[in-house]
């Protein structure tokens, strides 16, 4: 099957049938094992890369897993890249500072991304980080197109002892607009669109923070694995009931950023048809690929505000091993509807 820009995503093994090359590869290291997957695959498939940059968050690494993973990534990439650099960014919860630091880093290292074949692995970037990363690459570095890679987890590990609840984070630091996506607040009413994740508490955090006049929800369906869409729905039942979003429930495949983008577009159209004076706020709590779909939509629509509940703690070992790795290509200048 062909990889069609802005339309399809493919399993990476199906795509890398012939040798490929890219000028710059950006990825991120973390305690999750799946962060090493893409570099493993590239090495196996003898991909040719010019410069590789590995983001290293400033965060507690109690069991040294992040360090090990980053070293593993570096070792893989050194075999196929001309240059591998580890970039020490800020904490996961400070994307603005982290990305500003990255711009300085690019300048200092004389790395020019303009007109380069760029590929980014978003697997373990936090959503706020890759949102802002793509924003500045588009606005400041004139990025037009980019390849994106993502590796699913094999499964999520952290379950509470009662009711099989999946727990990925704990506590709440703040609910805030993602920098660069502050949208428009010119109207007095807000409409909130939540891309549902496995943790209903986070949907409620966002909902209580915004206190919108109208709420829509998008469930990841079909999900990464069969039946997971049930998990996210059940986890969000209270949110759906409190917000009234159970009457405005849409779907988008968990693994497809383009369909997610289309779904968000349809929802916004529906909202604006009925309510002329309403601000649109989106909160991407689902998969990273769905979040990427929200990103694509928001990049083309500056009125959209994107908000995120920054947790106190990301639970270590919340994901287990790795599942399929996907690749897709985005053209930021033109996106296809359905």
């Amino acid at each position: 099957m062909r990889l069609i820009e802005n339309l399809s995503i493919l399993p990476i093994e199906n795509f890398l049938i012939q040798p490929r090359e890219w000028d710059v590869f950006i990825s991120c290291g973390s305690f999750e094992k799946r962060c090493t997957r893409s570099s493993n695959i590239f090495m196996d498939k003898k991909v040719d890369i010019g410069t590789s940059i590995i983001f290293n968050y400033k965060e507690t690494d109690l069991e040294n897993k992040k360090e090990e993973n980053i070293q593993s990534m570096k070792s893989n990439l050194e075999q196929i890249c001309k240059c591998v650099q580890i970039f020490d960014t800020e904490s996961v919860s400070l994307p603005s500072e982290g990305i500003k630091k990255f711009l300085m880093f690019l300048k200092e290292e004389n790395i020019d991304l303009l007109n380069k074949q760029l590929i980014i692995d978003i697997t373990v970037f936090t959503k706020a980080y890759f949102f802002l990363l793509f924003k500045i690459m588009k606005e400041k570095l004139n990025l037009h197109e980019c390849w994106v890679v993502y590796t699913e987890p094999e499964k999520y590990k952290s379950k509470s002892t009662d009711r099989n609840e999946i727990i990925l984070t704990e506590g709440l630091d703040r609910v805030e607009s993602i920098p660069g996506f502050v949208g428009s607040s010119v109207n007095s009413k807000d409409a909130l669109i939540v891309i549902l994740g496995f943790e209903g508490k986070r949907s409620r955090e966002v909902f209580n923070s915004v206190d919108p006049g109208l709420t829509y929800a998008v469930n990841g369906f079909p999900s990464f694995q069969l039946g997971w869409h049930k998990i996210s729905l059940e986890a969000n039942l209270l949110f759906l009931q409190e917000s009234g979003a159970s009457d405005h429930l849409f779907f988008a495949p968990a693994v497809d950023p383009f369909e997610t983008r289309n779904t968000v577009s349809r929802i916004v159209e529906e909202i604006e048809k009925k309510n002329k004076d309403i601000n649109i706020i989106v909160s991407p709590l689902g998969t990273k690929l769905q979040a990427f779909g929200v990103l694509l939509y928001a990049l083309g629509n500056k009125k959209i505000k994107v908000i995120y509940p920054f947790p106190s703690v990301y639970k270590p070992d919340y994901s287990y091993k790795y599942g399929p790795t996907w690749i897709f290509k985005v053209n930021l200048d033109g996106l296809i509807g359905d």
Binding site: F221, L226, L233, S246, F251, P253, E259, D338
Partner: protein, 311 residues
């Protein structure tokens, strides 16, 4: 009767939780029952507290697809999965790289080059897929632009397919795939329409189904299977070792014994057609691959279903 079931549920925290989960799911997204009466009636089929508990576990794990989900899957199948699969057929040499072209040409392709058939005879679930399919795609492609023919007509009458490229066979669920293989070999490839139109590709589209069934069909026929959902593995068979429904082995063993005993009274395949052990139901019907304890209604009132199957 309800009182008796209620008391049993209320006497146990776990059962209260399961029951509450089922009712909340129904309220917010199944939207099938409204009141608990049908659920109580179904639970009343079971003999004692332990059986009722196991039945609640089963009910809480049913993969039920409501009308919105069914419509969405059809929409996704057509506008996403099929579009990507047939990309080269749609565009041949002409892909300009422009977004609008894909949309326009795809619509034209569907209108001019495709036939849609509900798979199987009129009493089967395939033909019943036509209506939700229509509804799902109605704002993308006009009703009059989708060319439907009945399965029996395809088999028996001469249809001009010379300028067509693809025939879509619509169904809801793929179990073992044996039925589809059989129909392919005994009905489709012996038909006049098939023989005189060897250029046509057959796409078998279904909402969901077992991976083994998909592989069976693709191995033994020329049909390509396209599912809306990811295919199911053994963890979706109710009593398999990797079952996600009864994860505890002892519980699973006990539940199997109960459901199989009851199933013997209900259907020639006590654990679902060809022992599929599925736990799936759709808003329009329940496939017979699912456990009969879920769908069978006995005329004499000896068994009341949860998600009744309509033949």
């Amino acid at each position: 009767m309800n009182h008796h079931i209620k008391n049993i549920i209320l006497s146990n925290e776990r059962m209260k939780d399961l029951f509450s989960s089922i009712m909340e799911k129904d309220r917010h997204y199944w939207k099938k029952f409204g009141t608990p009466d049908d659920i109580f009636k179904w639970l009343n089929n079971f003999l004692n507290k332990n059986e009722i508990y196991l039945a609640l576990v089963l009910a809480d794990n049913i993969l039920y697809y409501n009308i919105n989900e069914v419509r969405y899957l059809w929409r996704l199948i057509l506008t996403n999965r099929v579009k990507r699969y047939l990309f080269d057929d749609i565009f041949e040499e002409d892909y300009s790289g422009k977004a609008e072209d894909i949309t326009n040409q795809f619509t034209a392709f569907i209108k001019n080059k495709c036939i849609f058939i509900g798979f199987g005879e009129i009493y089967k679930s395939g033909p019943h897929m036509i209506y939700p399919f229509h509804q799902a795609v109605s704002n993308i492609i006009k009703k009059e632009d989708i060319h439907f023919i009945e399965y029996s007509n395809f088999l028996s009458s001469k249809v001009d397919l010379s300028d067509k490229k693809v025939i879509f066979l619509l169904d809801d669920f793929i179990g073992t795939g044996n039925q589809a293989v059989k129909q392919w070999k005994e009905e489709i490839i012996v038909s006049e329409n098939y023989k005189s139109n060897q250029h046509i590709r057959f796409l078998y589209t279904a909402l969901t189904g077992f991976l083994s069934g998909v592989e069976n069909i693709e191995k033994h026929t020329d049909m390509k299977v396209i599912l809306g959902e990811s295919p199911m593995d053994d963890s979706f068979r109710c009593f398999s070792d990797s079952s996600l429904i009864y994860e505890d082995a002892a519980e699973r063993e006990k539940a199997k014994e109960i459901m199989e005993t009851a199933g013997k009274m209900l259907y020639e395949y006590p654990l679902g057609y060809e022992n599929d052990q599925a736990v799936v139901a759709f808003c329009h019907n329940t496939p017979n691959n699912s456990l009969p304890v879920i769908w069978k209604k006995m005329g004499d009132g000896s068994w009341y279903p949860l998600f009744e199957r309509f033949e």
